[in-house]
């Protein structure tokens, strides 16, 4: 065995890779359970891919067969009901885990320097996951699948000049139909592997900047501990708890996240009374509907997802850490969280009366919170300084500044040397 490994090591950095990136990978010892959701998201992706591959063995991507083939999986395939419910519940679990992962990043300010690329690769992952979930939702070919896809693809019609052509190009037909189903199936199978690749980029970035931690400051080397066995056991324990909750939904409430309407086969001639997207799209859907103009709504919805990208630019405080040491930011965070829940509620209900106004108010608040963040961060810093920072914090800021200055000086020096040459 030893010989085999050393044979490989001469040709491939197996031992050093396992040592540096897995077993002895330095991890902050003060990580809380909020840092479990990254690895959980990875596990959920694996569950989705495995169950998805088995579903694809029995599923038929054909408008006249798709609905029946899903029922065939649920009824006749051995443990088909388990595979299908794991996959449909898995989509919900994926978003739940990803949203918690994002909330942690926002709360603890993990998007801040030097982890901007972590945040941005994460943003790309979010978009890819949303696209995959949306396309996957068409595959059961129920009423909600069909009309959801019809509504969302029609949004592209709001694009100036190219709109109508774009919609036809996306659908492969004038309305959602067989051509749409087959291409969504193909892409639904493809994109998860792109997600896999993107996760690799996300992880390479992580292993370069290392994990953030609840204190929000870069820890000294002595405060880092090897990933194994400390975080392997912690992640496994977290995984067990996750699996308990996930199993509860798979085995006891598998239809909680499937609209009743979606057990009616797609009927292009009969529009359901209320077309609602899956729960994880509801806040964005509410923003779309709150703008009276279609193009404006589409733009607002797109920005509402992409605006997270700006976080490192909007939040430029010198106070280290996230919401823990920053009372103003903490309030902002919780207001944002509650507002997203309100938007989710508005998105789930038909737009009538008071809810229209509530939706518009919440939409304005959603963007307003991002808009005031730069000013709030400055105000907060001034306020905290006036109140008097603790000496430790002051020292930390000083040392951060010193690091920055040193980095800059080193860069200048390197440049100067280059010029001399």
């Amino acid at each position: 065995m030893k010989n085999i490994i050393s044979w490989i090591d001469r040709r491939f950095p197996l031992t050093s890779f396992v040592k540096n990136e897995l077993t002895e990978y330095p991890t902050p010892r003060n990580l809380s359970f909020w840092w479990n959701f990254g690895s959980l998201a990875g596990v959920v992706l694996v569950i989705q891919i495995i169950t998805g591959v088995f579903l694809a063995m029995h599923y038929k991507a054909d408008a006249s067969l798709a609905f029946d083939s899903v029922e065939h999986i649920m009824r006749d395939v051995n443990y088909g009901w388990l595979i299908r419910y794991m996959h449909s519940t898995g989509a919900t679990a994926f978003f739940a885990v990803i949203f918690l992962h994002m909330a942690r990043t926002l709360y603890y300010g993990s998007y801040r320097s030097p982890r901007e690329l972590m945040w941005w690769t994460g943003q790309i992952l979010l978009l890819l996951i949303m696209a995959t979930a949306f396309m996957g939702y068409l595959l059961p070919w129920g009423q909600m699948s069909y009309w959801g896809a019809q509504v969302i693809t029609s949004l592209f019609g709001a694009v100036p000049f190219l709109g109508d052509e774009l919609v036809i190009w996306l659908r492969g037909d004038f309305t959602v139909g067989d051509a749409t189903l087959t291409r969504f199936f193909a892409l639904h199978y493809l994109v998860p592997f792109i997600i896999m690749a993107m996760i690799m980029v996300h992880l390479v970035a992580l292993h370069s900047v290392k994990s953030s931690n609840p204190s929000g400051i870069n820890l000294a080397d002595k405060d880092n501990i090897p990933f194994h066995p400390y975080f392997t056991t912690k992640d496994l324990f977290g995984l067990c708890i996750f699996l308990v909750i996930y199993s509860y939904f798979v085995f006891f409430q598998p239809n909680m996240f499937i609209e009743a309407e979606n057990y009616i086969p797609a009927d292009p001639l009969q529009t359901p009374i209320h077309i609602v997207p899956e729960w994880y799209f509801l806040p964005f859907y509410a923003i779309l509907r709150s703008i009276p103009d279609l193009l404006g709504g589409v733009i607002a919805m797109t920005i509402s997802v992409l605006i997270f990208t700006l976080m490192p630019f909007l939040d430029r405080t010198k106070i280290p850490g996230g919401a823990v040491y920053r009372p103003f930011y903490r309030v902002l965070f919780y207001v944002f969280l509650i507002n997203v829940l309100v938007l989710g509620y508005v998105g789930a209900k038909p737009p009538e009366g008071f809810l229209v106004i509530l939706g518009q108010f919440s939409t304005a608040l959603y963007f307003g919170l991002f808009a005031i963040l730069p000013f709030l961060a400055k105000k907060e810093e001034l306020w905290l300084r006036k109140k008097g920072l603790s000496p430790e914090l002051e020292a930390l800021i000083q040392s951060e500044e010193k690091h920055k200055a040193e980095r800059l000086a080193a860069k200048r020096k390197a440049k100067g040397q280059q010029n001399e040459k």
Partner: protein, 218 residues
């Protein structure tokens, strides 16, 4: 402190999940619940077969599937007569005839209990929401303009006893259609119980492993 907190969390998860697992029955109205008893399912199936099947198919249910809810082969043979064992149960009225009679094809009932919000309750209530209006014509209180006649004659039922008998029949049909909508539901729940029990034990052990490993840092 932190350990205590997580232990408490774990305990509450255990208690909460066991509580949920214990109360997983679905209630209908008038004190009836969706039954998984073979007696009710068989009764519901028989009523469906003699009454509902005139118009409604069960395209995802084959005759052989009836063996799973307690029918023996002789009973299924008596029901199916010339129909093959491995064929789906279809309505007596052909879609063409139904079109002529009602102007529409009555919906398939296989997944009706899942295709409506609170499906079993909906099915039960729909069958018992018939009233006779002043002109002596039946109407349905929850489905305006329904084409289906008052098959149980509930709107003209006399006396409590007769009404209760019809309620029981409707509950059995609702239970049967709940089964047809998800024939593996009881397997699923049984398996889920063991899976979750296993995972809870594993979580407890994993917690102890984690705690022992992390003690090395103290």
């Amino acid at each position: 402190m932190k350990n205590k907190k997580s232990l408490l969390l774990l305990l509450s998860v255990v208690l909460y999940s066991s509580q949920i697992l214990a109360s997983s029955s679905v209630s209908l109205l008038d004190g009836y619940e969706v039954s998984v008893e073979q007696e009710s399912l068989k009764k519901g199936a028989t009523i469906y077969y003699n009454l509902c099947r005139m118009c409604h198919s069960l395209k995802y249910i084959k005759y052989q599937h009836l063996l799973e809810i307690g029918f023996n082969e002789a009973e299924v043979n008596a029901l199916r007569q010339e129909h093959l064992m491995n064929k789906a149960i279809v309505s007596t009225a052909t879609p063409e005839n139904a079109m002529k009679m009602f102007g529409m094809v009555p919906p398939d009932l296989s997944i009706m209990a899942k295709a409506r919000k609170h499906g079993p309750e909906y099915i039960y209530s729909l069958m018992l929401s018939y009233v006779e209006n002043s002109e002596g014509i039946y109407e349905n209180k929850i489905f305006n303009g329904i084409k289906m006649p008052d098959v149980f004659s509930y709107s003209i039922a006399q006396g409590e006893q007769e009404k209760q008998k019809i309620q029981k029949d409707a509950a059995d049909v609702a239970s049967f259609l709940t089964w047809t909508s998800d024939p593996h539901a009881s397997d699923r729940k049984t398996m889920g119980f063991y899976v979750i029990a296993y995972l809870l034990v594993l979580s407890g052990l994993m917690y102890l492993v984690m705690r022992r490993v992390w003690r090395r840092l103290d």
